[in-house]
């Protein structure tokens, strides 16, 4: 999978996107035939008309041609309608057994992701990175905390809106392991363009391992740097918005940072997660993503360095 096809409706990586692509090719072929047929008819008409000095005065013999064309149109439309409804049936989430439920909540401009579990201490929370086991159906429960967003992983399925005040159900399945990119598809304000997330489809074993890590509390700081970083985190404004499980920081305004060090991207899949980007993001997130709700944090360079070391240790 090349980087240019990891957010692409024409490269399905699961059964649902596959169904849609099937309908797409059928429609494309029929529509191409219709377009070409219309233009052939038009060419024939123009050729005849160009040879004439005066327009035909006879009554047109066309009613038969019209009837034929309308019948063909209606027939093709019916065929497309049938294929569309059959496709929609195959995609319906109703009556599909799933192995897991994940709640995705849209925020301006990031995604909160919770792996639901009957045991409340088994709920794992992360952000902007959705892991799914390959070959299994997963139910996505969609909600929004502010405005309307839309959940769209083109390689896996179509869109479903996240509407404040209501929950919608969506079922996805990835059959090929890999990394897929997803992006908000309903205009949601200043940073609609940079509200993305990544989907990582991995073998069941890897997935379970990852989920177990996510359930756990945050790692304790080990080095002096990391300890100082934790102090900085807890004593400055960070904790007013962010949560780190196992510490006193528990706010749900911004993304959960319990395992932020293990994530591949920052800023809702906008930049890769590395030391330089993380420092820049903390110091001035708005420089990377103008309009972002996270304020700039003018920290002392040593404090910033320690904070970054701490966050990176949260694997």
């Amino acid at each position: 999978m090349t980087s240019s096809s990891y957010q692409d409706a024409l490269h399905p990586a699961g059964p649902y996107a596959n169904t849609i692509v099937g309908v797409w090719w059928f429609y494309l072929i029929v529509c191409t035939i219709v377009f070409v047929a219309v233009w052939i008819a038009l060419f024939i008409a123009i050729r005849r008309a160009r040879r004439r000095v005066e327009p035909d005065t006879l009554a047109p013999r066309a009613p038969r041609a019209m009837m034929l064309a309308l019948a063909a149109t209606t027939g093709l439309l019916l065929a497309m309608l049938v294929s569309s409804i059959a496709g929609a049936r195959a995609l319906s989430p109703q009556g599909k057994a799933v192995t897991r439920e994940i709640q995705v909540t849209g925020h301006q401009w990031w995604w909160d992701i919770q792996y639901l579990d009957e045991r409340s201490d088994h709920i794992a929370q992360t952000a902007n990175e959705l892991h799914v086991p390959v070959g299994e159906r997963v139910r996505i429960i969609l909600a929004s905390s502010d405005v309307i967003h839309s959940f769209w992983v083109p390689n896996l399925h179509g869109k479903r809106d996240l509407i404040p005040g209501q929950k919608s159900i969506f079922v996805i399945q990835a059959d090929k392991a890999g990394l897929y990119r997803a992006q908000c598809a309903e205009f949601c304000g200043l940073q609609h363009a940079k509200m993305a997330f990544i989907v990582i489809a991995e073998p069941k074993h890897d997935f379970e391992q990852w989920l177990a890590t996510m359930r756990a509390s945050a790692a304790q700081p080990k080095t002096a740097d990391e300890q100082r970083g934790q102090q900085v985190f807890l004593s400055t404004s960070c904790g007013m918005c962010h949560a780190i499980k196992g510490t006193s920081a528990g706010s749900r305004v911004g993304p959960d940072l319990t395992h932020v060090g293990s994530r591949r991207t920052l800023g809702a899949a906008v930049i890769p997660n590395n030391r330089g980007n993380l420092s820049g993001w903390i110091a001035d997130a708005g420089g990377v993503k103008p309009g972002v709700l996270m304020p700039p944090n003018p920290l002392d360079p040593d404090d910033l360095h320690a904070l970054v070391a701490y966050l990176e240790s949260l694997k």
Binding site: W24, L58, M66, S83, I148, S150, Q183
Partner: protein, 627 residues
């Protein structure tokens, strides 16, 4: 032979006041129609400049040409301008100018209402651009979904400006539509029964009815939004028992018919041009009329296809898939009719005919991508991506702008008495056609490859760079086409060939008078005996006489068969409708800042209406005739 004395008297009676005062007071349909056409063309240029700025920003990934905040204002203003300030006013204006001439009458019904409509629309447009240039242009999209546009997530006055702009332009559209319907029903030349009306008149009639039924939905929606924002009603707040999706239903119950409001006159311009340049009546007149009516009806039953991704029940979605597919059939009928007409006719290659071919290429493609979007599975992938941007421009530019430019070229001699330059016209078409396809065709691919719409930038690793660059180049080519069209209009106005009454040898009654028409339109009102009035006139076709040349009298005929009924006197130029529009404007704009704007506006409007309806002394001889 022109009766010189009658001409002098009528010209004095129907004399158009000149200058600024004339512009403010004149209510003749040619003046109001031209005001609409010129104003909406100016807004078209502004909308076009916004489009060019957006394409420049998207030419390269992570571009810093404009900020995200300004980009959001750009696409909101672009969409709102093109739909509310260009497309609808343009088709209304063209109708207001052309339809009375096609009907063989001297003036529209309710000319003062028309005048009021124009100035309401103008104030609404100026309000939007005042906000835009002061950097508080609306930024929630032309669809302004709640809650993003609601009081919580859009503080400030940006969205209020948008909502009130909607109120103004809808008042304008409704007024224009009512006066259009009355004119078409009651002002037709004797002999022009309903089943003989030119197809363009049918198009304006059907569209006006659609406006009457569709616009109230968006006025209700925008008023609810304004009151949510201004006086804390909670129509759209789920937490207080309101509903978020209510906005979408109301908006699209207007928004989809809106597309057909724009498109139906486009198809009837097509029918006009096809007949004029094949010298043959369009095949299947009754079928063509029924197609328009069917499109209008079904057009009110497809709105949910804008909401396939909101999680509505699936059975309901299939219904809207089916209705969206069904609406293809009447339009297919029209396309087949035009091809059959060409087949039996001549094929005179003049600039307007090139736009007919352009329509058949672009619109047919847009219609087919519309069938794709009607399918729920495909829509779930394609919705809110650049594929939809491509589709909507293929249907709207293909279905409305191409016929419109063709029709403006065709009617330019009627407006001005001069022909447009043919060579320049062909070059214009070439730039339009190539530029359009270069801009919008790649967007289909962008959408399929995952690019969502309404994004101010994208990452360089997404693989969208080349197609975006191509699209931007196309936008500039299209822009050159628009400049060429304007240059042609200016050059032709100054030094174009003199047109004469009927330069195209065309068929309908607007060509039965001089170009440009005299202020009284027709020296003697014409009568007709069949469709394609001029082509079918008898050698001794009678003319209507018996009007007093010293009064603005028009003939009123019966609804169905256009049998002469009575004559009425229509109003002379007056300032009151303009003042009423100003009063409404003060009220509505003040209401953005304080609820007291509403009573203030009502008070001022009351004064203006009192002036408008102040009783006029009856004519002396009428008094004498009274028993």
């Amino acid at each position: 032979m022109i009766d010189l004395e009658l001409h002098v008297q009528l010209a004095e009676t129907w004399r158009k006041p000149r200058g600024l005062w004339g512009w403010l007071t004149d209510n003749h349909h040619t003046t109001i129609g031209m005001n609409f056409i010129v104003t909406s063309f100016v807004f078209f240029l502004l909308g076009g400049i916004e489009a060019i700025l957006m394409r420049t920003q998207l030419a390269r990934p992570e571009n810093h040409f404009v900020t995200n905040d300004f980009y959001n204002q750009l696409f909101t203003t672009h969409g709102s301008t093109m739909m509310f300030l260009f497309a609808v006013p343009m088709i209304e204006g063209l109708g207001i100018y052309i339809v009375p001439l096609m009907l063989g009458t001297r003036q529209m019904s309710f000319p003062r209402l028309n005048q009021f409509s124009y100035f309401s629309y103008l104030i609404g447009g100026l309000l939007l651009y005042a906000g835009f240039f002061l950097n508080f242009g609306p930024d929630a999209g032309w669809f302004s979904y709640v809650p993003l546009s609601g009081p919580e997530f859009a503080p400030g006055k940006r969205i209020d400006i948008w909502a009130q702009m909607i109120t103004f332009t809808e008042i304008g559209s409704l007024g224009g539509a009512v006066s259009m319907i009355a004119t078409i029903f009651k002002h037709r030349a004797p002999g022009m029964s309903l089943n003989r009306m030119p197809l363009f008149v049918w198009g304006e009639l059907v569209t006006s009815f659609m406006i009457v039924f569709a616009m109230p939905a968006v006025m209700v929606a925008s008023s609810m939004l304004a009151s949510d924002r201004l006086i804390a009603t909670q129509f759209f707040n789920k937490a207080e028992g309101g509903d978020v999706l209510l906005w979408q239903h109301l908006f699209w119950f207007f928004g989809h018919p809106e597309v057909y409001i724009i498109f139906i006159p486009g198809t009837t311009m097509m029918s006009t041009l096809v007949s004029a340049f094949t010298k043959r009546p369009v095949f299947g007149y009754v079928g063509m009329v029924l197609s328009l009516v069917a499109t209008a009806f079904v057009g009110f039953g497809v709105w949910v296809h804008h909401m396939f991704a909101t999680g509505l029940p699936e059975l309901g979605l299939s219904f809207f898939t089916a209705s969206s597919v069904l609406i293809t059939i009447p339009t297919a009928f029209q396309v087949f009719s035009w091809i059959i007409t060409i087949f039996h006719g001549k094929f005179i290659v003049r600039t307007p005919m090139l736009y007919v071919l352009g329509f058949l290429f672009i619109f047919v493609m847009g219609g087919l991508s519309g069938v794709m979007l009607a399918s729920t599975p495909l829509d779930w992938q394609l919705h809110d991506t650049f594929f939809v941007v491509a589709h909507l421009h293929y249907v709207l530019i293909g279905g409305m702008l191409f016929p419109l430019i063709g029709a403006l070229t065709y009617w330019f001699p009627k407006f001005t008495g001069k022909m447009m330059n043919e060579t320049l016209g062909r070059w214009t078409f070439a730039f339009f056609f190539v530029g359009f396809n270069l801009t919008f065709f790649p967007m289909h691919n962008l959408g399929l490859h995952g690019m969502p719409r309404r994004v101010y930038t994208y990452l360089p690793t997404m693989g969208w760079n080349n197609l975006n660059m191509l699209s931007t180049v196309g936008a500039y080519v299209l822009g050159v086409g628009v400049l060429l069209f304007m240059a042609n209009a200016v050059i032709s106005l100054r030094s174009g060939a003199i047109a004469g009454d009927n330069p195209w040898g065309s068929f309908s009654l607007e060509w039965f008078t001089s170009s440009p028409p005299p202020p009284y339109n027709f020296l003697y009102l014409p009568t007709t005996r069949d469709r394609y009035e001029i082509w079918t006139m008898a050698d001794d076709q009678p003319l209507v006489t018996g009007f007093r040349p010293d009064r603005r009298e028009v003939l009123i005929t019966k609804l169905m068969d256009a049998f002469p009924d009575h004559k009425i006197e229509t109003p002379r130029p007056t300032i009151w409708p303009t003042l009423l529009a100003g009063a409404t404007g003060i009220g509505v704009i003040t209401a953005i800042f304080t609820p007291w704007g509403v009573p203030l506006g009502m008070l001022l409007a009351g004064i203006a209406l009192t002036g408008w309806f102040w009783p006029k002394p009856p004519h002396h001889e009428l008094l004498e005739e009274q028993p």
